[in-house]
Amino acid sequence: MGEALVLLGAVGTLALCAAVFDAVLAVPGGGAGEPLRRVARLLLQQRRRTRLADTLLVRTGVCGLLAVAVLAGAVLPLGERPVAEMAVGVVWFNAMEVGAWGALWLVGWGVNSVYPLVGGYRFVAQGLAYELPHMFALITVALGAGSLRFADVVAAQRGLWFAVWMPVAFAVYLVSAVAMAFWGPMDGPVSDDICGGVPAELSGPDRLVFQAGRYALLVVVAAAAVPLFLGGGAGPLLPPWLWTALKTVAVLALLVWSGRVLPTVRMDLFTRLSWLVLIPATLLQLLVVSVVVL
């Protein structure tokens, strides 16, 4: 119970930090207060409804996005122990994070409007492109650790971080992380060229919960990189929870920053990249790791 509260608090705090960092990057020299003002504005804002919307599906999607993000975070070690210790935590993480596909698609379809629908399309296409390389990256980690339990994965990196001896898997994980959270170079599903895409018709509390879910997902995928590739809470002097927090913040800052410095990658190009480069590259990485482990 206590750990669940810690998880919610940590995800909430980091999500706000990510929003503030993004606002500061967007408006240099100011803008730090913008996210909180935006929360206030959305709290007061009226909820709008589109014609013939499927409200049940939209609400399911809006709340579902936040829910899958938090559930995916439940297996991540917050220091030494996660909220939910699972023998197959990596598979759980993967299953929950795929739930975001459903959430986005439901919102995009349900509001009955063209641009959200196109955004929903784009996310499923993006999902089909990033998911296989992402799974291979996770499998590589599991193979290196000989376990699907996050605690074992962390323990297996006591000598050397997986980021160092599986660099391809780490790089692919980072790409799939931004793709999963539809952020930065992978923000096609919510990009400005289609009026904000999936959440284009959401207003007030609906938009607030959707954005909260998006930032929570970004935080959780950044946090997952720590036990998977960066040695978890291991580090000199400081306690594990603090190392976990510091490493998470570093990965999160990198992901947020990527959104400012990289253009959005068109979906047809990313699909090609994924099938022609990322999948073969992760397979080779898997082969190398298999040989070393054997």
Binding site: L52, A53, D54, L56, L57, T60, M86, A87, V88, V91, W92, N94, A95, V98, G99, W101, G102, W105, L106, G108, W109, G110, V111, N112, S113, L117, G120, Y121, V124, A125, G127, L128, E131, L148, R272, W275, L276, I279, P280, L283
Partner: protein
């Protein structure tokens, strides 16, 4: 506790299955089916088969969305614009489904109940892998990679054919 969980999941699974045919839009039908399948995945957790349970959830979410893409999204009428019936050829389908149900239900009563031999393994995921693939592990892995290589190469070929003159 486990009994309660089982019955709740069983009811959700069946209710989701029924809902597939009662709702008026393909989107709702798709997600009713997904709810039903997720309940089945969670029911596997009661057997201690965590890996299988989560993989079922993972695969079903992806499959339902691929289905949504192919079945629903090529129709550009989102949301509940046009209510439609989710049943086709209802009488024939119902009789086939009824017959299959009777067959399976009879089977469960006629076959002897399985008895547990030995103890549950410490790591059911590992035991499952060995039970399914056993000594053919290497062959299975190679076939898996070969299938994937085939997929990748077919993508390579189709990409070039679709955009003649454009490199990749």
């Amino acid at each position: 506790m486990r009994d309660v969980a089982f019955w709740v999941l069983a009811v959700v699974a069946v209710a989701g299955g029924v809902a597939v045919f009662r709702v008026g839009s393909m989107a709702r039908a798709t997600f009713a089916l997904l709810g039903s399948l997720v309940a089945v995945g969670l029911a596997l957790l009661l057997l201690g088969l965590e890996y299988l349970g989560y993989v079922i959830i993972l695969m079903m979410v992806m499959e339902m969305l691929v289905m949504a893409v192919f079945m629903v999204m090529y129709m550009m009428n989102p949301a509940g614009l046009m209510p439609m019936r989710m049943t086709h050829n209802a009488r024939w389908a119902a009789s086939v489904a009824g017959a299959v149900f009777v067959l399976l239900a009879t089977g469960t009563f006629l076959l002897p109940e399985p008895v547990r031999h030995g103890r549950p393994p410490a790591d059911p995921t590992r035991a499952l892998g060995l039970a399914i693939m056993g000594p053919k592990m290497l062959v299975m892995m190679i076939i898996g990679v070969a299938i994937l290589a085939t997929m990748v190469s077919s993508v390579v070929l189709s990409v070039n054919r679709r955009h003649p003159g454009r490199g990749c």
